[in-house]
């Protein structure tokens, strides 16, 4: 089953428009410049999806006192997979790798320099979406400490499995 993938982007011009290449399992499925705000919809398959943002080295204009007066940027505003909005936190927690191989979180959701972000799509896709969008992010933030007890966590599946096992032994 193909997976529906769409992305909304905002581009800023400087000398030329920024470029976006998308590969799916190493096959280029999109390769074009992005102008203003743009939405791209593609059919993809599970596996590795790479978003590669490209700008050239001279794409930043500086003033005489070295202040940026114009810069080429490419911002990812929204990612939708199988009609499900992945949310801004998912985008912010993607890993951005620049050309030198340095990895940082994509917190500004913007390609300020050449580099790529990678999404490893796994099937079944709905379970993968829930894992990426909620479970991984919750583990980043930790439990909600306001509650009077820690038992309010929603995704402690390993703890629940253990308790289910104990109960099954009891009802044998």
């Amino acid at each position: 089953m193909p997976i529906k993938f769409s992305i909304e982007l905002t581009a800023k011009y400087c000398n030329s428009w920024p470029w976006l290449q998308i590969t799916n399992n190493n096959v280029v499925i999109y390769d074009n410049e992005i102008k203003e705000t743009q939405s791209i919809s593609l059919n993809i398959t599970g596996g590795v999806l790479k978003l590669i943002g490209i700008k050239k080295n001279n794409d930043t204009q500086l003033s005489a006192d070295n202040k940026i007066i114009q810069d080429k940027l490419l911002r990812v505003d929204k990612i939708v997979i199988d009609d499900i909005d992945m949310g801004i936190e998912f985008i912010r927690h993607l890993k951005f790798n620049n050309e030198l191989g340095t990895e940082v979180s994509f917190l500004n959701t913007t390609f300020y320099e050449n580099g790529e972000i990678t999404i490893n799509l796994q099937e079944p896709i709905l379970s993968w979406i829930i894992e990426e969008k909620f479970i991984k992010l919750l583990s980043t933030y930790g439990d909600d400490k306001r509650m009077y007890s820690s038992v309010f966590s929603k995704f402690k599946y390993s703890v629940l499995h253990e308790k289910i096992k104990n109960l099954r032994n009891l009802i044998k």
């Binding site: 499900i84 909005d85 949310g87 709905l126 379970s127 979406i129 829930i130 894992e131 969008k133 909620f134 479970i135 909600d144 400490k145 306001r146 509650m147 009077y148 007890s149 820690s150 038992v151 309010f152 966590s153 929603k154 995704f155 402690k156 599946y157 703890v159 629940l160 499995h161 308790k163 289910i164 104990n166 109960l167 099954r168 009891l170 009802i171």
Partner: protein
């Protein structure tokens, strides 16, 4: 001037100040009393943190009747109660009103009241949902047990707005040291809850911009679901006008700057007119910053839902609803008395998703007539609606309830008419949790637990968020232990009877 302390007992979710405390403060202030409020859950958390101890250190023993305190827990709790007890005694109050939100608070309340006993001249009053439930001695209600043991001067059942002033004035009346409380009518006439005695900053987490306040817009329920005993405590459904509720929300916003609200009603939309009026007033009020509210909500047949309903919900500030869908099987839901189907749920989910309203489902497994086929239909719900978990529309399921035949519920009548079999407690009283329906004999407690586990397994398989999952499984485990013990006792008893019969023969 009369000095009164309003004291709220743990456990309490400290994301919001206690609604009952706010109501009691308003009642006493209206009578001209000098009122102070203390939330012992807030103070307990602060105390534990100050001792570098986890805030849930006491939970397993404090809120579980079958768990004993460890020596460390006992010491910590005794110290805390001694500190708070001394503060209460030195306050020189004329009245100490203890508000017990839940039965889970009984252990704490008993320890506090024992500490205060003989050390204060104050008149000690207790009320709240936790006092009408059975106490540790199983026979009397908790309030009556405390009174019998001279740990309190008075317990108040039902709603405090009328009973409390009556107690101050004449010392007796409906709901005062008895279960025969009078229901309030004309709810618009009572003062809004007063939170000025609380430090609202105590209820803010690091990430919150606003504290959340609880609102109660109605009492009772329009439905009469077979498993529920709300009809016993609130036989008649009563509600405030929509404008009055909206006015309260606006008042809290203007007075305290609060933007988050939580409805503590059994259901927020029991009356369509009241609900629409409230939503319209809120949607049209010029808040400087958006407000949001959450609450329990009933689904109806999709054909009866007005066209602009979901838009109005959203524009009034609705952010999350808690819905008792109870089962994934239409036949069972119909039998329970819920008047909607899985297709209706689908319709609501589509619209909740469209208007970004979140929903938490409440349900249980093992209804008295549930067959394996019905159970399997419930399990299919998890794959069917997984996409709404992925969109974030479904924020979780809560399966905390294990079906108990509650006294006063319609199921109690069914159980009598159908001659349900109940296991007995150690003291010989009936245990309402361990029932067997002769018309569906394979669904004994063990089978109900098995289905419950299968349901949680399925929820995990489809990655549904599970609220209170650990607590649910702990309760099931403890109940299963007790069930085994009581079953053995019951089997031994019948064996003995058989031996006697044989010997007589």
């Amino acid at each position: 001037m009369t000095k009164t302390l309003v004291c709220s007992i743990p456990p309490w979710d400290i994301s919001k100040p206690p609604l009952s405390g706010g109501i009691l403060c308003a009642v006493c202030k209206k009578l001209g009393q000098n009122v102070t409020a203390v939330d012992l859950q807030v103070n307990l958390n602060k105390y534990l943190k100050s001792c570098d101890l986890p805030v849930d250190l006491l939970d397993d023993a404090l809120y579980n009747f079958t768990h004993e305190f460890t020596p460390q827990q006992e010491k910590v709790l005794t110290n805390f109660i001694s500190i708070e007890g001394k503060k209460i005694i030195s306050g020189g109050y004329d009245y100490i009103i203890i508000s017990l939100f839940s039965v889970l608070g009984q252990k704490f309340a008993t320890k506090l009241l024992k500490y205060l006993s003989g050390k204060t001249y104050a008149n000690r009053i207790i009320g709240g949902a936790g006092i009408t439930a059975p106490s540790f001695d199983y026979r009397n209600s908790y309030g009556a047990t405390l009174k019998k043991n001279n740990l309190i001067d008075c317990y108040i059942t039902g709603e405090a707005e009328e009973a409390l002033p009556m107690y101050f004035k004449v010392g007796q009346g409906p709901g005062i040291n008895n279960k025969e409380f009078a229901q309030l009518d004309h709810l618009d006439q009572y003062a809004f809850p007063d939170y000025s005695c609380y430090d609202l900053n105590d209820y803010l987490s690091d990430t919150d911009e606003s504290v959340e306040l609880a609102i109660i817009g109605s009492r009772g329920c329009v439905r009469s679901c077979t498993f529920c005993d709300v009809v016993k405590t609130s036989p008649k459904y009563r509600f405030r006008s929509g404008n009055n509720i909206a006015k309260e929300i606006i008042n809290h916003y203007e007075t305290y700057g609060v933007t988050k609200f939580y409805f503590a009603d059994s259901l927020v939309n029991g009356s369509d007119k009241m609900f629409n009026d409230m939503c319209n007033t809120l949607a049209n009020y010029k808040f400087h910053e958006p407000i949001s509210w959450k609450g329990q909500y009933i689904l109806r047949n999709r054909k009866s839902v007005p066209k602009n309903h979901f838009e109005l919900l959203k524009s009034s500030g609705c952010s999350e609803l808690f819905v008792g869908i109870e089962s994934g099987c239409d036949r069972i839901r119909e039998e329970i008395g819920k008047k909607f189907t899985n297709d209706d749920i689908e319709f609501y989910l589509e619209n909740f998703s469209k208007f970004d309203v979140k929903v938490l489902f409440l349900f249980f497994s093992g209804y008295v007539s549930e067959t394996i086929k019905d159970h399997e239909e419930t399990l299919r719900m998890f794959s069917r609606w997984q996409k709404y978990v992925a969109t974030g529309t479904i924020t979780g399921i809560e399966t905390l309830n294990i079906l108990m035949i509650l006294p006063g519920s319609p199921l109690e009548t069914v159980s009598k008419n159908s001659h349900f079999h109940f296991l007995e407690n150690v003291d010989g009283s009936v245990n309402n949790l361990y029932w067997t329906n002769p018309d569906n004999p394979s669904l004994n407690f063990k089978e109900r637990v098995r289905r419950h586990l299968e349901m949680i397994d399925e929820a995990i398989k489809y990655k549904w968020p599970i609220w209170n999952g650990e607590l649910t499984l702990d309760l099931l485990y403890n109940s299963m232990l007790e069930y085994k013990q009581l079953s053995d006792k019951s089997n031994n008893k019948s064996n003995n009877n058989r031996i006697k019969i044989i010997s007589i023969d």
